[in-house]
């Protein structure tokens, strides 16, 4: 067991990082600006920080926490170090739902001069519930396809395969739809599809919080099963884990966390893949440690990536999903290469 200081370092580091991220944006900031932005009734630049950066830092932390936790759970349950929480088809499903909703809005209220044009574009606030339902439906489909009837539970192999297959198909369909609808109002869809925290406020965050609570609670409840699931299924079973229940529940929990995160920010790649590996590298050996560190690292990654995206090409913005992919992929490759021997031993074949 790690000392208390190890456990406390993570949230403390995250808070520090979030604080630092408040300094970064297209309009700059000074110490007093950032400091007063956290108080009541900020003014001037402090108000801009409070209105535009603070909610994005909070949203980034929440989204990253979801992805980090989901990735850690998933890699344990599927016993696969390359599993990303988006392989359930959550990204594809959410994207599909958003693009379909856009075309439905146009079909229901065609852009005609005679009627109120305001009804035929989707406001940003409508996207999260739409994305969430799409993500959950796609997840349900993948889980149904991955169900092994003989064992009466989810087959991890099939889970990965069907996730990849469905993901590829949904991605292709989304691209086709975006392009065939582009005569209409798809700019919002495109912005959202690249994984962005643009214009996110606290009001976009609240709907995700119940999912955070439920996801964390489920994870805590499943901790004993998850620790046993790190071993192969026979060992897990001999340790008293009810596989039929524990595996689907863990997967559903991870999927719900990932889906609600995608609903807020769109598909943000590599965070769920990378965070558990970084957690392992930074000393998260036992399961609890790894989950704790993964959640914090995931949150930190998204917060940092979004801050970077705000400044690299200001006044334009690099969507956070692109930044996490660009940074995450090489780091991930490096980590994987460094410790492939250990992985090879734990993963087995």
């Amino acid at each position: 067991m790690k000392p208390a200081i190890w456990w406390l370092t993570w949230p403390a580091g995250l808070v520090l990082l979030g604080f630092a991220a408040l300094f970064l944006g297209a309009t700059g900031a000074t110490w007093p600006d950032v400091w007063t932005s956290l108080g009541a009734d900020p003014e001037g630049q402090a108000a801009i920080i409070a209105r535009y950066r603070l909610p994005r830092v909070a949203a980034g932390a929440l989204v990253g926490l979801h992805f980090g936790l989901a990735g850690a759970i998933l890699q344990v349950v599927l016993r696969n170090p390359l599993a990303d929480p988006t392989i359930f088809g959550v990204s594809g499903g959410a994207s599909m739902a958003v693009v379909l909703a856009m075309s439905a809005a146009i079909a229901v209220a065609p852009p005609s001069e005679s009627i109120n044009v305001a009804t035929n574009y989707l406001p940003l606030a409508w996207l999260p519930p739409i994305a969430l339902s799409g993500a959950l439906i796609a997840t349900a489909v993948v889980i149904a396809l991955a169900w092994d009837h003989r064992l009466g539970t989810i087959s991890p192999t099939r889970m990965v395969l069907m996730g990849v297959v469905l993901g590829a198909i949904l991605n292709a369909a989304v691209m086709a739809l975006v392009l065939s609808l582009s005569e209409s109002r798809t700019e919002l869809a495109i912005l959202w599809l690249s994984g962005s925290l643009y214009a996110r406020g606290f009001e976009n965050l609240w709907p995700a919080l119940p999912w955070t609570v439920a996801g964390v609670a489920l994870t805590l409840a499943l901790m004993p099963s998850l620790s046993a699931l790190r071993f192969d299924s026979q060992t897990a079973q001999s340790l008293g884990v009810r596989l039929k229940l524990a595996v689907p529940l863990s997967i559903a929990g991870a999927a719900a966390l990932a889906a609600s995160a995608v609903a807020v920010a769109g598909p943000v790649g590599f965070v769920g893949l990378l965070a558990p590996h970084m957690a392992g590298w930074l000393g998260g050996v036992r399961l609890g440690e790894r989950l704790w560190a993964s959640a914090a690292i995931g949150a930190g990654l998204v917060v940092a990536a979004d801050a970077l995206g705000r400044i690299v090409i200001a006044p334009a913005e690099m969507p956070v999903g692109i930044v996490t992919s660009l940074i995450g992929a090489p780091v991930f490759a490096a980590l994987l290469t460094r410790k492939y021997r250990r992985l090879h031993a734990t993963v087995g074949e």
Binding site: G25, A26, T27, Q45, A47, I48, R51, Y52, R53, P110, P111, S112, E113, I115, N116, V117, A118, Y121, L122, P123, L124, A125, E183, S184, R185, E187, L188, L191, Y198, A199, G201, R310, A314, P315, A316, E317
Partner: protein
């Protein structure tokens, strides 16, 4: 050249005139919602090209503008040099927008609609979408009222109507056949006459081979994709091309066979042709196209060199 001077004269007199119009005014914008503007706006951000164009025409300077596909409206000349850059029109930088503390933000519903709430809470938001000539006239009228220059706006519309009439009278009845293409890598779209750019060119006796589209709901949808063979089939006498991503057009043997290319009547057009609604853009389009269609009858208008049409060039 004479005509451009004519309208600019009107504009100059407007700038000198005391602020006309009374506030508050109620503006009917693209949202079909009445927006009340309490006092004459002083700090104005133009997210859309139309807004920037109208402001420059009125002798006003926006404190912030956006780009579209990375392009600034060069045709508006140096008057926008001091304006802050807010990034792309489809996702303007909200932090910079807020730091400018505008009391009016002029945008497009088409692109800014999803973020209407965020933009409105920073500074009053007015949305105008592009379309045909009638839409352009209406937008000029409404924005003119919002900016406290309703009389000048009315003069602008009247002067532009007069300019169109005088050019139509001088132009031949049976002008050349033409196409206006919007070009995007391997794809070409022909603008139909529902759109302001082609509506103006066709008003001078030239015939748009892409015709008028009766089946679309809004002018924004009035374009048709063309593959190279269809382009060759149309083979217009004059070819106007706006390359959305900039740079030369990808070479295709079809172009070598086209009459417009062979006769030096294929042109690469400036940014204003894709954003034609503003009073300056539409006048510039009318005058330049008149010259390109009928070089013997109409002189080249005075305009910033960066915005001028050039012979179409191809990338090998």
């Amino acid at each position: 050249m004479r005509h451009l001077a004519l309208t600019l004269l009107a504009v100059c007199s407007a700038a000198e005139a005391p602020a006309n119009g009374s506030f508050p005014v109620s503006i009917d914008d693209a949202r079909a919602a009445d927006v009340i503007i309490e006092t004459k706006p002083e700090r104005i951000v133009a997210l859309s090209n139309f807004g920037a164009d109208m402001m420059v025409a009125l002798g006003l300077t926006p404190i912030g503008i956006t780009t579209y596909e990375g392009k600034r409206p060069v045709y508006l000349g140096p008057s926008l040099d001091g304006a802050a850059d807010l990034g792309d029109l489809t996702a303007p930088n909200l932090e910079i927008l807020a730091s400018l503390a505008p009391d009016l933000t002029i945008g497009m519903l088409h692109y800014n609609g999803p973020f209407e709430k965020e933009i409105s809470e920073i500074g009053g938001f007015l949305a105008f979408d592009a379309g045909d000539l009638a839409t352009s006239d209406e937008n000029v009228t409404q924005l003119g009222r919002a900016l406290g220059a309703s009389e000048v706006a009315a003069e602008m519309n009247a002067a532009f109507a007069e300019l169109r009439r005088s050019i139509r009278e001088r132009a031949p009845q049976d002008g050349p056949e033409y196409l206006f293409l919007w070009h995007y890598y391997d794809t070409f779209y022909a603008y139909q006459d529902n759109l302001l750019t082609t509506e103006l060119i066709s008003s001078m006796g030239a015939e748009n081979l892409a015709g008028y589209n009766d089946s679309v709901e809004t002018a924004e949808q009035a374009f048709m994709p063309l593959d190279p063979e269809e382009l060759l089939k149309f083979d217009p006498e004059v070819l106007f091309v706006f390359t959305s991503h900039g740079g030369p057009v990808k070479a295709n043997p079809v172009f070598d066979r086209m009459a417009a290319v062979q006769n030096g009547k294929a042109f690469s057009m400036g940014y204003q042709y894709s954003q034609p609604s503003g009073p300056i853009a539409r006048e510039m389009i009318l005058l330049e196209a008149a010259h390109l269609l009928y070089p013997d009858l109409f002189d080249a208008p005075e305009m910033p060199d960066g915005a001028r049409a050039r012979p179409l060039v191809f990338a090998e």
